[in-house]
């Protein structure tokens, strides 16, 4: 039986402390300052998160973590999403932590200390891990990696990079892939920062004969999915939680505006046309919140069965976020279109979050496959 979908006492405390910390340390104005200052995130904020133990939320105690689990990681991601806090949390503390843990990597403890990671996976404009074609060819005792990765979240700033490369087979096959854990500043890696709409760190990475040893292989060669699949599930669940938080942030900002803005001699929130749209959106958010909570719980309890739960969460979170930011701009009217106002930041992050780690169609198709059609 799945544990309660309502947060436990510990989880409520974690949420409350995260919320209080982020309200002070990283309001939406911090994202604006990052953008205007041309930096993808504030390393000082990440240091604070590391000090509070957030980087170790999915790590075992012997690696310096608290092992609180995926539901707890989701609660942190949700709170970050609410205020659009930018940090390497998902790439490092969720995705890399899960991959390194699944592989039994000796580098695990580095994550708890704040080492930052990026996952270099996509090679085309749509998420499709098995289509990876970046070549890792045998060379002496090790490998040489050559090829190009695009849309690498946190790829411009990360200390290390997890690279999905093909060691056998052809693009399209799930077998024959190997996951490498490399120093992001290795010779032969060229990182090209991209100016994505959400003002966060995304980069294209070119690999030109990058040397890797057998020790850099995470898990087994030719069998990347054994460590990558759990890491992707964790990342997708965490991203769903971030999107849910973003959705909630955009929604309550809009609801507050509906209560305050006056036109035609009335508060616009008194118009039934807007009330019903707002209430519909709130219902969608409630349903999505259930899917997100469920994904975290299933990952903690029966991770081998989590594919369906995670894909339901990512599909729902993607779609609900899109609705919330669209309605957010429309209900704010002209001011919603201005850069001075924060709603645009929510809309842009929602669009990037929609694509990262699989879009609506990718996850809906996985749901359908799991349900037999």
């Amino acid at each position: 039986m799945t544990a309660s979908l309502v947060p436990s006492g510990d989880e409520v405390m974690l949420r409350d402390s995260a919320r209080a910390f982020l309200a002070e340390a990283s309001p939406v104005s911090a994202l604006r300052a990052n953008r205007d200052g041309g930096r993808p995130y504030d390393p000082a904020l990440w240091s604070e998160m590391v000090k509070m133990g957030w980087a170790g939320v999915l790590l075992p105690e012997e690696a310096g973590g608290s092992d609180m689990g995926h539901r707890a990681a989701g609660i942190l991601a949700e709170e970050m999403g609410e205020v659009l806090a930018a940090s390497p949390f998902l790439s490092s503390a969720v995705i890399a932590a899960t991959a390194l843990r699944a592989a039994g990597s000796a580098r695990l403890a580095g994550i708890a200390e704040g080492a930052t990671y990026a996952l270099a996976l996509d090679e085309t404009s749509k998420f499709a891990p098995e289509r990876a074609g970046l070549q890792a060819t045998r060379a002496g005792n090790g490998y040489r990696l050559t090829g190009r990765k695009c849309f690498v979240a946190d790829g411009g700033s990360a200390d290390r990079v997890l690279v999905l490369a093909r060691t056998a087979g052809a693009p399209g096959e799930a077998e024959g892939l190997t996951l490498f854990d490399l120093d992001a500043n290795s010779a032969g890696i060229t990182r090209t920062a991209r100016a994505t709409v959400d003002s966060r760190d995304h980069a294209n990475l070119d690999f030109d004969g990058v040397e890797a040893t057998g020790e850099d292989v995470l898990g087994e060669a030719d069998n990347a999915m054994a460590v990558l699949a759990p890491a992707l599930r964790a990342g997708q669940a965490g991203l769903s939680a971030e999107l849910l938080g973003l959705t909630s942030g955009a929604f309550w900002m809009t609801a507050a505006y509906l209560r305050e803005r006056r036109q035609f001699g009335r508060t616009i929130g008194s118009f039934q046309a807007l009330q019903h749209r707002a209430a519909h959106l709130w219902c969608e958010i409630e349903v999505t919140a259930s899917a997100v909570a469920n994904a975290g719980r299933v990952l903690d309890e029966t991770p081998e069965e989590a594919d369906l739960a995670v894909s339901v969460a990512k599909a729902r979170a993607t779609r609900t976020a899109k609705l919330a930011v669209s309605e957010g701009v429309q209900m704010h009217g002209g001011i919603g279109m201005t850069d001075e106002f924060d709603m645009g930041f929510y809309m842009k992050r929602a669009r990037v979050g929609a694509e990262w780690l699989g879009d609506y169609g990718y996850h809906a198709a996985r749901v359908a496959a799991a349900r037999g059609f």
Partner: protein, 397 residues
Amino acid sequence: MLQHSDDPDTFRANISSWIEAHCAPELRAIPRTDQQICWGGKRFDFSSAAQKAWMQAAAETGLSAPRWPVEYGGAGLSRQQEKIYREELARLNAPTPLESFGLWMLGPALLEFGTHDQKLHYLPQITRGEIRWCQGYSEPGAGSDLASVQTRAEDRGDHWVVNGSKIWTSYADQADWIFALVRTDREAPKHRGISFMLIDMEAEGVSTKPIRLISGASPFCETFFDNVVVPKEDPAGLSRIVGELNRGWDVAKHLLTHEREMIGGGAQGLLGTRSLGAFLQDLDDQVLADPVLRSRAMELEVDSLATAMTLDRYKDMAKQGGVGHASAMLKYAGTELNKRRYELLMSVTGSDGLDWDGAHGALPSEWLRTKANSIEGGTSEVMLDILSKRVLDLPSQ
């Protein structure tokens, strides 16, 4: 005899062997049809001896009302035990032994607002399937605006005289008693002059007329009260009013909240029970090769699963102190989803699904019936009103 073990695994094993022992194999067939629903009541025609035996076995152990207190005819189960019981019923493909408006609505109202004596008298009649109740809420002039009911009960000393009419009284023509909202104070503001009254359908002056719906035959009736005498007290001294006089709106609101949770949750008999997956597996592969149909099916599956998780989450929230007005969300989301499901089922079955009684049974009638889901028990628009005012705190002007 069933042992109410506290250990969930033992309880599951016990309840499962109890179901196996008392629910005859012939009852455990799919698909489930209307005839298989056991409604009980004085005039109920059991579809088989097995159906009657199953209901009686459940009544004896209180399992027709799993969570009601034992002293009122229930089984006194915990939420978790009830969940296990329902899971085992589903797993063994056993029908719910008894369904009724008494179990769904009047019982919860009595448990919350009734006197101890009213509970002792009325509740066991419900759990044993002896009395079948119907609900008298809506009127021709009081639909969404329910508090404007005009059916009146005039005070004549030791009795009331009731006049007026009710509409959408489900199964009124087969019910033994009706619980109705009647106006007992015509001077008071509309919410303050209503009482929740129990009326014997056999009383002189009560009559019913079935209403035919777009889905064909329908369980709905219009019910007329023509100078119906309702004693203020039964021979046993029981009041025919539940809760306080003129405070029936409080009872009605409580019940409507309950009803919303139930409709949103897809209670049997109110929402169709056909699942999409079972349907799709039997279909010609070509049907889902249509990218538009396929995409609708995928979206519906995502939303259905997330909605099921929401029902679970709200049940968990209820354990921790209730969900209040947010239950309007369950009603809105659940009924709108059900309408989408049946629209899709009609699309994927194509011309095979167009006969009233054809390759897919009574699918068209079920499809048409779902259109009422977002009307009955408060329309979707009323749900959105409740949410925007009570949950989102949006202003009225």
